[in-house]
Symmetry: C2
Subunit: 123 residues, 2 copies
Amino acid sequence: MAKGNTNPDFLNGVPELAVLRVLFDGPQHGYAIVQSISKRTGGTLQFGEGSIYPILHKLEQQGLLMTRREVAGGRERIVYRLSKRGSKQLEESCHRWQNVVQSVQALIEGGDNGLSPVVPAAS
Amino acid sequence: MAKGNTNPDFLNGVPELAVLRVLFDGPQHGYAIVQSISKRTGGTLQFGEGSIYPILHKLEQQGLLMTRREVAGGRERIVYRLSKRGSKQLEESCHRWQNVVQSVQALIEGGDNGLSPVVPAAS
DNA sequence: CGATATACCTAAAGGTTCAAGGTAATGACA
DNA sequence: TGTCATTACCTTGAACCTTTAGGTATATCG
């Protein structure tokens, strides 16, 4: 049954970053966030609701998101909006992300240029 | 305790990739691998031995690494070398990594410009 | 009414990484 | 000789995150 393949490739912390980023462009409710992410990445990044909602709740608890109840068409929806601290966190997360990308890139590409090989054998 | 906050997030599957990449440049033993990674990334990526050894064992079990016992200075060391399948896996991992990077980048940068919405504004 | 899409939420499961410890052998030093 | 620091290898326990797969409820359309 549930194959439970958890953290697939290199996505870790990415859903959280995605949520923050999407909300940066304007308030949305959970269901819409899920689809915005998919839409924005051309379907490459598809996080299910089961991944997003827990994050939404966590971020709200941390004060990074504000919520507001809205009624649209008789349906109640919870609209999430980025707080000031949320914006800050987004910036920080982006920064860390770039940092990781750079490091990994250096690792991948930084093959045999310049660096001296590990030859301790002297004595 | 807890997973601490030493290393930022976004590192999932990265240690594995790092191990494969480092070994691509030549056989090494575990301890050296740990330090090679740190050295190559200028200390940005520092995975402890507790992270690396389990990966080493897993990769060996999967046939991606070959081992050879060596005796250097009376000490026995286990030297790991990339297998053919390991090389293939490295290439594939790099590819997936680039893929994720692209997607996230699109998400971060692709605010509301450029991409055509799904609804091409009829009438 | 029944089916579908929207909207929200939770539980169980599984894999990953981390910190922190443990064991040994060597070489240096006094 | 004894001890210290370093190298090398290994294991454990906890905590974390994401996913799958459900569960609930309302509105709209045929």
